[in-house]
Assembly symmetry: C2
Homo-oligomer: 247 residues x 2
């Protein structure tokens, strides 16, 4: 048996998220269907670094699976890309130690959120950004974001409907930059709770609009109460950008 | 009656081109449907600078129509964008002299063609570029393109199935640039024949690959024979970029 690790990108627009769901098109289903076909009907199960929701994209999602085939990485890449639909692309393949696990071994994840902050919509990237035509004070947004860096209980920034009890996470880095591609909010941490990035972004946007004070973000964090944070921003601006492992 | 001129952009991916066709989704149909509804069922006909084919995009297409409504440009823009589908966007509106005509008054048009020239596909812009993973010599491509500048009979670079007899056109400018967005071929001229940009691009790609000599492009032009030029490149890389009028 060989354990195969892949870095994949996908445009989440036409998927009901990453995870298999009955009668829905999902990223996991599409990849498993191709792999199972390659293995003459023997079902192949893939494992990802984590799920992504409906409409959320990935530039550097990581998956792994086991196969008895002895293909070179480039041959795996070619074979998979030839059969996968156009909105999923295998960027690289590596044969890894069979103790590697794409979810359990994650040490760091980066998400990026794209806001198209212009008076006019850009039709070409409309599924890959949140169109927000009003003025945003990104200096204040960065100040508010800084108050979330470090290790905290992020209960206030987690969707209410989650099973996870342990809500302490560490955000190593959080930056906000404005360029021709719009405003990009990049967050790096050891893990993120359900909807955490989107709730942080939604809260920062309220700060940027002047609807909320900078200090209110720190206060929301300390309250450990979802109701104290802002709205969940739309999924289509969100990208799982990079997943890091030891070595 | 007021004559209204609009600069519009659209993502051509999900349209069967610009022009009305029975039982097809077209840009013209979608805009006329919205305008006709606004005018309580009085049919409004729009006129564009020219058609675009299935899958071809526009950043700066120009249309005009007549209306008895006395709206300010910003009100027109808001009303139309509120009702149009997400893949069409009205960028600007102007009330113009009623002698203005979006097609007859064109003095210059610019098209741009995007080639994603990387070993890996970019899933996010897959409908807005031609993915070409092989090496291209853009110096040779530019040299070949230079031989097409000026006023010529472009019969060799026109789809065979066209009614237009007069095939002399002037290309004022043609540039090829490589950036993070890929290779961009920009052409400006007084008008372009059916498929002309896509046939020029397809021919230049053959030059860039070394499948065809630079000089063969000039020879193809002089032959006035479609068979002497290269393949028609796919529509999804093509953008109607800008349309200029006098004043």
């Amino acid at each position: 048996m060989n354990r195969i690790k892949c870095i994949i990108s996908y445009d989440g627009t036409l998927f009901s998220g990453y995870q298999v769901q009955p009668n829905q098109r999902t990223i996991q289903t599409d990849i498993e269907t191709v792999l199972t076909k390659m293995h003459k009907g023997n079902p192949i199960r893939i494992h990802a670094s984590g799920r992504t929701d409906t409409g959320v994209h990935a530039v550097g999602q990581v998956i792994h699976f086991d196969s008895e085939f002895n293909l070179l990485p480039e041959a795996w890449k070619r074979a998979l890309n030839a059969q996968l639909p156009k909105d999923i692309y295998i960027k690289s393949v590596e044969i890894v130690d069979d103790k590697f696990h794409s979810r359990f071994d994650v040490v760091r994840k980066e998400y990026r959120y794209f806001i198209w902050n212009d008076k006019d919509e850009n039709v070409f990237s409309r599924n890959q950004h949140y169109f927000f035509p009003f003025e945003l004070d990104i200096v204040k947004m960065q100040e508010a974001l800084n108050s979330l860096l470090g290790t905290h209980d992020f209960s206030s920034f987690c969707a209410a409907n989650t099973d996870i009890k342990e809500k302490v996470r560490t955000i190593y880095k959080g930056t906000i930059n404005k360029s021709e591609q719009g405003i990009v909010i990049a967050l790096e941490g050891n893990g993120f709770l359900y909807n955490m990035v989107r709730i942080i972004v939604g809260t920062l946007i309220e700060v940027g609009q002047g609807k909320r004070e900078v200090i209110s973000v720190k206060n929301a964090l300390l309250a450990c109460d979802r109701a104290k944070a802002g709205k969940t921003s739309p999924p289509n601006g969100l990208f799982l950008w990079k997943v890091d492992y030891n070595n």
